[in-house]
Amino acid sequence: MTDSLPLLSLCLAWPLLGALSLAFIQDSELAKRGALLVAAVELLFTVAAAWVFDTARDDFQLLEDYPWIPGLNIHYQLGVDGISILFLPMTALLTLMALLASWNSVRHLNRFQLALMLALESVTIGVFTALDLALFFLFWELTLPPIFFLIGLWGIGAERRYAAMKYTLYMLFGGVPILFGIILLAINHAHYTGGAIPQDLAFSLPVLLNTPIPDSAQGLIFLLLFLGFAVKAPLLPFHTWLPTTAIEAPAFLSALLVGLKLGVYGIIRFAIPLAPQAALEHRWLLAILGAVTLIYGALIALQQTNLRRLLAYSSISHVGLVIVGIAAFNLQGLQGAVMQLLNFGIVAGSLMLLAGMIQQRLGSTDLVHLGGLAKPMPRLTVLFFVFVLSSIGVPGTNGFPAELLMILGALQAYPALAMVALFGAVLGAAYLLGFVRRAFFGPVVHDSVAKAQDLRPRELALLVVPVLLVLMIGLYPQWLLSWQETSLQSWWQRLSMAVPQVTTESKHTQKTAILGVPSDGSI
């Protein structure tokens, strides 16, 4: 089934074409404008995709399906559902912001940087739209080369090459179990249909979702996929690449890295639905890992003196909460989790870009070089504060509904973990506001701070949209939730259908009634 206009392919190919065409533009100023134009048009394309998306349907839409490697039954299959659709405009927006933020900060190999950014955008869109697991894995691994070069060539720290290598090694390590998991899934399908191995393998997600997997294999598949995605998420103890990268990488790339949570997306999209029984069996693992990551990240963030490291650890802490929300395995936790993933792109990305702007002005984001920033830079302070409030989860911003839903979900599944999440919320206020106090408030002690320039029009312009989104979603979250509601509901129903004992096992019959599950739910 193919729609008349291959919108997703267009979204996928357009930035890549733009990146290639940059090779023919010699003038770097012209190249910057060209890249910006490409990114802006890409944003329009993704918004158009979201526009034609039918929120009432719960299946994959905008499908495109062509055979790619017929020998292995691998397809070029793209499609989006309510879970993934909004990640497309978010990716496009974040890339556009990152391009604008790097406008003056990149001084050498200008065109190559622009091309890499656009290529990265293309590949990221690919990760969000690929329905064929082999295709997905291709995009997943293809994110590495652009990031490797972006960190290594334009990093702002002294150890940027080390950071680039560390990032790449970690991600390669994470890729291996995912590949194994995917191969196991494909082979299992061939076994299930009783077909021959090379021709009857299946890599298509919609097909695999309907292929039952024996219990013994499910556990292995789930753990493999989960391990691979946990490295990218990042979850404890695989998180150490993020602080290093955040401090060494250029701010516009760090913004993409903390903003786009591909790992958690992978867990929601692939790891759990493909191995539902195993996921339910291991949900305690997810929940505890999430809770530990949440507190662990928050505690370390409390100790940080560098803004970019602090943001990295706060991002780790938030991922922990999202995992707790997912592990609750109810609609509320899941809605909150997906919403928070979208928030990340806006809030964590913008905070990182703001950190980059401070870095560009003062040459550092470390506390010893800051202090009293509010006086010379009131506008930057105001915007920073809006995002900080959202990150803390203050009502009126988009962080609150997501956090409320996740805590509500966790409370229904694991009351004790909800308490941990609440404690994490207190810590969140402590580390962020503590940093604001020491960096933005107080007297101005450094000359460089006193002379620092407030936000320029270009920087203001790039932050206006995220600020408006923060307030808009905060004031009316249903607007965002309505995109995902149908898909998430069927996601969750599929999961509870696969394992009937979930509902009957539950002690609190009242709760299942709330969630609208037939208590005798069966396949």
């Binding site: 100790q303 509320q332 404690f423 402590a430 509601e485 709330i514």
Partner: protein, 523 residues
């Protein structure tokens, strides 16, 4: 007609957005813009007063329904959170009263803050606070009350940090916000419990279903709300934040901590009368905490030497009395007490500088000799009962120390254990080195290793390579024993350090906590 109630908080909100937006764009700025700002603020709050009074008259003549709903704000499965306003007696009375007090305070500020640097910022915050406070008393839904509750808290944070270049102000603001965040945890928990048990967080639903809840559940719900109320209304053990909050300009102190916000806790309890009547334990807690706070505040107030501090301890003493009244079941008395106290305290704090002026040179009445001669009591009073150091010692310091330890573990153990690529500096750093290496020199290791790695993955790869090498070169690898003694000693030292750490109280407490939580989780 009841639908007009939403205008009461909407007018100040619009004024706040206008002032904030125009000031951010530097359209109104400096002394020239003061008139515009003042006019906007006064018009908005004036309209709110008129609307509130009009609706109050309509309500008194029995024309209004109890509540009015504007539609869903958030939906998740069968859970809904509606935007509902309560247009019944006490809510409208308080809305009228608070809007009048706000009008007075805003009018007072126009002169008081003339030519202050942060004039526009102050009016933006005050208007936002007005909107939050009026929404707080009018909201028919726990979620919206919490939204207003928290926005009022953020406004209070901003105003305490009004003179943000003074480190003490910024420090106090952060401290106050984080303290209040603990109470917010209670509120969020209560909302989540209500949503999980009742599918709805309308005050009416909570109060009506209170009788159907199991006594234990009702008590838990009431206690969670009580924690939120204690924190907001500065009851023991949260009382010290109130004294720290006196950093802001006088009119804001008057309206925040004299007139409106400080009463939010008592208002919450009065609102939940039917729920608390189902929870005798929570009622007795209200009485005990209220009475304790009253005594404590009276005692500490005796030794205060500046007018703002003595006022503020009088405030918390009065609030303690209100809590005690609620706990004893005198709900109507508490409601009257609240209204009367709001008026009196707002007036007293607004006129505090004038009072000082008028009573200049007249010594205040000395404390009764029987009390004045108790030396220990005097010290206790001067030290404000050591309440804050006690909280520091109990909560803040252990968390900070834990954070330090976790950071150490992260940087020195987790990061290393997981492995990282060899830093670039250890590799070839000069051409000469590279040439030497080409000729066969081994520069970076005393052993004949050709692959180097650190951490789990790195070591694994290294060892595998070494093993293969071993077979390859016919058992010629030698001399591993050299380091074993040194390694053993180091291991012993590390074990010792670990054990010492385990014996520290914070870890002991942590283990007890974890055990409790696990027990709770498997209940």
């Amino acid at each position: 007609m009841a639908a007009y109630a939403t205008l009461i908080p909407l007018f100040p909100l619009l004024a706040a957005l206008l002032i904030g937006g125009l000031h951010f764009c530097r359209i109104i700025d400096g002394e020239a813009g003061e008139k515009t700002t003042a006019r906007l603020a006064l018009t908005a709050i004036g309209l709110s007063v008129l609307t509130a009074l009009g609706l109050l008259i309509a309500d008194l003549s029995g024309l209004l329904p109890d509540s009015v709903s504007y539609g869903a704000w958030l939906r998740s499965g069968t859970l809904t959170v509606d935007y509902t306003l309560a247009t019944g007696g006490f809510n409208l009375v308080l809305a009228s009263l608070f809007s009048l007090l706000l009008l007075v305070a805003i009018r007072f500020s126009v002169n008081y803050l003339h030519r202050e640097a942060g004039f526009h910022r102050f009016f933006f915050i005050l208007n936002l606070f007005a909107a939050a406070m009026l929404l707080l008393v009018l909201s028919g839904n726990a979620v919206f009350t919490f939204i207003a509750w928290e926005i009022a808290g953020v406004c209070s944070y901003w105003l305490i940090a009004y003179a943000y270049d003074r480190p003490i102000a910024a420090h106090n603001a952060t401290r106050v916000f984080v303290t209040n965040r603990i109470g917010d945890g209670g509120f969020i928990l209560a909302i989540c419990l209500a949503l999980a048990w009742l599918e709805n967080a309308d005050w009416q639903t909570i109060n009506l279903s209170a009788a159907d809840l199991e006594p234990g559940d009702a008590t838990l719900l009431a206690l969670s709300f009580a924690v939120a109320a204690f924190a907001k209304s500065a009851q023991i053990p949260f009382t010290p934040w109130l004294a720290r909050a006196m950093e802001g300009p006088t009119p804001s102190s008057a309206i925040f901590y004299g007139g409106a916000m400080i009463h939010a806790g008592v208002f919450l309890i009065i609102q939940l009368e039917p729920l608390f009547m189902q929870a005798p334990l929570a009622m007795s807690l209200l009485t005990v905490i209220g009475a304790l706070t009253a005594i404590y505040s009276y005692w500490v107030g005796l030794s205060q030497t500046d007018i703002k501090s003595s006022q503020i301890f009088a405030t918390s003493a009065q609030l303690g009395l209100m809590f005690a009244e609620c706990g004893l079941g005198f709900w109507t008395l508490a409601a009257w007490h609240l209204c009367a106290h709001a008026v009196v305290r707002c007036y007293l704090l607004l006129t505090a500088p004038s009072i000082l002026h008028n009573t200049h040179g007249q010594p205040i009445q000395p404390v009764a000799p029987a009390l004045a001669n108790c030396r220990w009591a005097f010290i206790a009073s001067l030290q404000r009962g050591w309440l804050e150091p006690a909280m520091d010692w109990l909560l803040v310091k252990p968390v900070l120390r834990l954070a330090k330890d976790v950071r150490y573990i992260d940087e020195h153990i987790v990061d290393k254990a997981l492995g990282a690529p060899a830093p670039a500096i250890r590799a070839v750093s000069s051409l000469a080195q590279w040439e030497e290496q080409k000729m066969g020199a081994n520069l970076d290791s005393q052993e004949d290793s050709f692959a180097q790695g650190s951490g789990l993955a790195g070591k694994l790869a290294q060892w595998t390579a070494a093993l293969l090498n071993w077979f390859e070169y016919h058992f010629i690898l030698r001399g591993i024993g050299r380091d074993s003694i040194r390694f053993g000693r180091r291991l012993g030292q590390a074990a010792n350090r670990f054990e010492q750490l385990l014996l520290q109280p914070r870890y002991l407490a942590l283990f007890v906590l974890i055990t409790l939580m696990v027990a709770l989780g498997y209940r």
